[in-house]
Symmetry: C2
Subunit: 110 residues, 2 copies
């Protein structure tokens, strides 16, 4: 037996969670929504749609896009998105630890 949970920020629908967090982390590493989506086995159009929906629900821009140029364009995570990612990452770690602790308290060793 184990404990499983899903947790997300919500503003009239899912606004941010583990999947989007992973996606943005990969955009940071690759500077490309294309590559980030590919790494997660997600189509580019689905990733792009996800980003748009989150931006609408969060009320700020997550990615700035460069079109064309020598490097062939790419995506950058905005400062607002970086701030959100930092807080979300800490939130996720803290909740994970707390849930495991409370689970052990009531149900013994996991």
């Amino acid at each position: 037996m184990k404990i499983v949970y899903k947790i997300w920020l919500d503003n009239k629908g899912k606004a941010f969670g583990e999947g989007p967090y992973e996606l943005l982390k990969r955009v940071q590493e690759t500077n490309s929504l294309h590559r980030a989506a590919h790494q997660m086995g997600m189509s580019y159009s689905k990733a792009w749609q996800l980003i748009r929906i989150m931006e609408e629900r969060l009320g700020f821009t997550l990615l700035s896009r460069k079109v064309g140029g020598v490097s062939g364009g790419g995506s950058r995570v905005t400062p607002e998105a970086m701030h959100l990612m930092k807080r979300y990452g800490q939130f996720e770690r803290d909740t994970g630890k707390a849930i495991e602790r409370i689970y052990r308290k009531h149900f013994g060793r996991p």
Copy 2:
């Protein structure tokens, strides 16, 4: 913005969570899986199927059934199920409080 979460005990699939907990509480109150399911807008066959799957994953019986008789039969929550419900209820309250506290810590007031 708010935080939303789903949490459940898992043993090769969902073994127990908020929905089953609610269902068993209503069986305790009504002594009837029929009435409990009806109160939750669930068909009797769906509720019965849910109970069977949980019993298999948990490894013990949740309901004892009386068939017929003067009172027309009914369902009783087993002592093992009562013990689980007690622990799960405490677990749920503790996690709810912890998640709200951690959310406020990282994202300000909910």
